[in-house]
Symmetry: C2
Subunit: 464 residues, 2 copies
């Protein structure tokens, strides 16, 4: 590619800073504008510590940019879910039957900081903070910014502009509003929202509950989850209906109601969250939405990437990983197509869109599974059998979750297609009492045959 | 319901004028504003005659409003598809194996005129033409209009406002832009667009090809269809890629290319369309999009209905029928919930949304089936068997198409769910050579059992 290319990146979040780093490594002249202050020197967390689950697709991209080791140092491995029932009993459900496979709790801010620091080592890369993009002119390839500190408004042009400006992307908005082409667009909200709370560290700075798990309190219509932080605390997230259901955010409008809700529904968690009512009232209620759109690019001059192109709900722990994987895929196309940006951009979307659509749909599905299915007997039995199959046949058997989370060489789309068929096969075999055999080879063979039959039947019916 | 209620309806298209008529019949005070001139006295067709396929769900709603007979008088029944291959051979494929079941070609303008004339018979109903809605204030329940003739701008309030203002609805836009609530919204375009052309009547005013069929020229990546008009002409629609494929709208930019395209791809049709190149150049190219959104209502004061709530692509011939069915369903809720508008509106969406989502998805699916599957041997064999089953077991067997088109008492959602399972069952039984039996009772039983097994397997797997 032409190394003199001037590249402008809107947004220095996780995707934008990794993309900037990688393009700088390839010799491009990169300028990044970020609306927020530098998170390495300013506390912009509003008192809350946001963590995410990093897994193999994310690591692959970080490896490409040479920052995997730095990221691993601030990870806390979680090997499974620890389910808390309403009586306070707990039972664990591993993510994989293979040794050592884990998802990893990591601070969004700390990881972002690592990427920014790495990126700034390159002379051919500059990052400007406090610069909010207010408009993109997609015909003239210019972006306008407002500096929050100086109040200055300025316009920059570039050979190529990347919109890695997240779910509320200004570049995507200009695609939508300018009507230069037919723009397919969807924003779909769940009826549930979320609120973050905190389980603090104990007096010695240690975790009050096991840090080796992602904790879940599933209650059918709502649930609580908790991920560990390095400082001994947990970030807790309540998922609850905005207005629907017996309990909902709208109705929990007094200290008494909030305390009562936790006392009856999450008694063990309540003991770990001091000042629950105050935290509940002070922290904002967030919306949970999926964004899909097409096209992602215009005339080989602007491209959406990461959440700006495909925001997903958090229930598969893949939002960040999918955005990082965008960079991996994009990087291979830079090798393949030199500096033919329009071909690179079009090919990128062609390859990538079925996969980001798939992870978006899987994430919404998992929202129902996490709330509900973890307490459904048939689904529990399926998990058990899958753990045994993965343990016994570690190189042969992969659950849908494993394909999505631990197999970065299987695309999200393939993982979804095969994983859904496999889930359906196992559930129906279980329901028919067909998996009572003691010989695991027989069970594996039955599952494989039923999965292939399902895929074949769908194919004959012309289904994807 | 409170008969004094002041109701404002934005849009006097097919859905708006039927809704207005029905609410006037129930005694409401109804005022309707329509952006276009009165189509009964002004030719607004831009020289083209637009026709649609009216079927049983549409007739049911027209019956409720007492206008079924008037509509039937201007219908041309089409009993099946007449497929034209590239050599000019034709073969027919009936819509149903039952006697007399047809879809019906009808002029959009003439049908709309009937509804307007009926509506205006009511003293408690007024229709204002040339009044374009420019904004709706959903907090204060007012709508602003501009009169195209007088240039006057005026604002009206009402107890209840209905947005039956089509795919580009201004009420829906205000839901989207005002950010008063989480508004899920999607607009999805197909890569294909359409262009209307005309086969004129012969010198004696007769149809040049059979008027008993919907004609299709399927060519895989593109197709031509034609529906008959009362004056002996046919309205022809070309569906073709905007920019993709060997032939596409962008590339057909000269008289020579257009004529060559028709000469090689649709030679028999070309003979029937004089001045093809001129018509092609003069008539606009339209986009094909699906719109879904939620919620449809706000605070029991405004409600989207028809295309404004759920625009679909035309490939199942159900857009108008679905909008008319909205009125049928809405009418039953007026009986049930008196004048509790918020309950009526919420219940309306709860009942109706799964059905309008289903017909939207079925219409997109049929786009691929019409282009492609009509020439796929396995699909052809399926159609044949289904025709025989419907003829032999007219009260027992219904194809997916029949359930959607001729069975107004089965919801679109149920028709989709059962129809898809049935299609999959037949295609797989055919592929396995399981339907070679000469005893039709055996075949019917096999299809029914396989269909039920598919539905049961999906249910166990937690799929809808």
């Amino acid at each position: 590619m032409n190394k003199k290319e001037n590249i402008l990146i809107i947004g220095a979040g996780l995707c934008g800073s990794l993309l900037a780093l990688r393009l700088a490594q390839r010799g491009c002249n990169v300028t990044v504008y970020e609306s927020r202050p530098d998170l390495r020197t300013t506390d912009i967390s509003a008192g809350r510590s946001i963590n995410l689950a990093l897994s193999d697709r994310g690591f692959k991209a970080l490896r490409l940019a040479g920052v995997e080791k730095k990221a691993r140092k601030i990870c806390i491995p979680m090997y499974g879910r620890l389910i808390h029932d309403i009586q306070g009993n707990t039972f664990s459900s591993n993510y994989s039957g293979r040794e050592g496979e884990s998802i990893n709790s990591i601070s969004r801010g700390d990881l972002n900081g690592i990427l920014l620091t790495e990126a700034e080592k390159y002379d051919n890369l500059t990052i400007h903070f406090n610069s909010k993009c207010t408009a993109v002119d997609i015909e003239n390839n210019t972006a306008t910014f407002k500096n929050y500190q100086t109040k200055e408004v300025f316009t920059k042009n570039a050979d190529v502009i990347f919109g890695t400006d997240g779910a509320g992307s200004i570049l995507r908005k200009s695609y939508y509003l300018e009507h230069k082409f037919l723009f397919s667009y969807s924003q779909n909200y769940l009826t549930h929202g979320y609120k973050e709370l905190e389980i603090p560290a104990d007096a010695n700075g240690n975790h009050q509950i096991s840090k080796d798990y992602l904790h879940i309190w599933p209650r059918g219509d709502y649930m609580l989850i908790a991920l560990p932080n390095l400082d001994g605390s947990f970030t807790v997230t309540l998922f609850l209906g905005h207005e629907e259901g017996v309990y909902n955010f709208k109705q929990l409008d007094s200290e008494a109601k909030i305390t009562d809700f936790f006392k009856t529904q999450f008694p063990d968690a309540l003991k770990l969250i001091p000042n629950i009512a105050k935290e509940f009232a002070n922290n904002p209620t967030g919306a949970l939405g999926t964004v899909k759109c097409s096209p992602w690019q215009y005339q080989g001059k602007t491209l959406l990437m990461g959440d700006a192109a495909h925001a997903v709900v958090p229930f598969y722990g893949q939002g960040m990983n999918a955005s990082f994987e965008d960079v991996t895929v994009f990087d291979t196309l830079l090798d393949e197509y030199d500096d033919n940006w329009e071909t690179i951009f079009k090919t990128f979307q062609k390859i990538r869109k079925p996969d980001t659509d798939a992870i978006a749909d899987l994430a919404v599905e998992n929202y129902f599974e996490m709330r509900d299915h973890v307490s459904n007997p048939l689904f529990k039995e399926k998990r058990k059998i899958e753990m045994v199959l993965e343990k016994t046949f570690p190189k042969t058997y992969f659950s849908k979750y494993s394909m999505v989370t631990f197999n970065e060489d299987i695309s999200y789309f393939e993982a979804m297609k095969k994983g859904r068929a496999q889930d359906k096969a196992i559930l129906n075999l279980l329901d028919d009492g067909e998996l009572n055999d003691t010989n695991l080879n027989v069970i594996l063979k039955k599952v494989q045959e039923a999965t292939n039959a399902i895929l074949e039947d769908d194919k004959i019916a012309g289904l994807k």
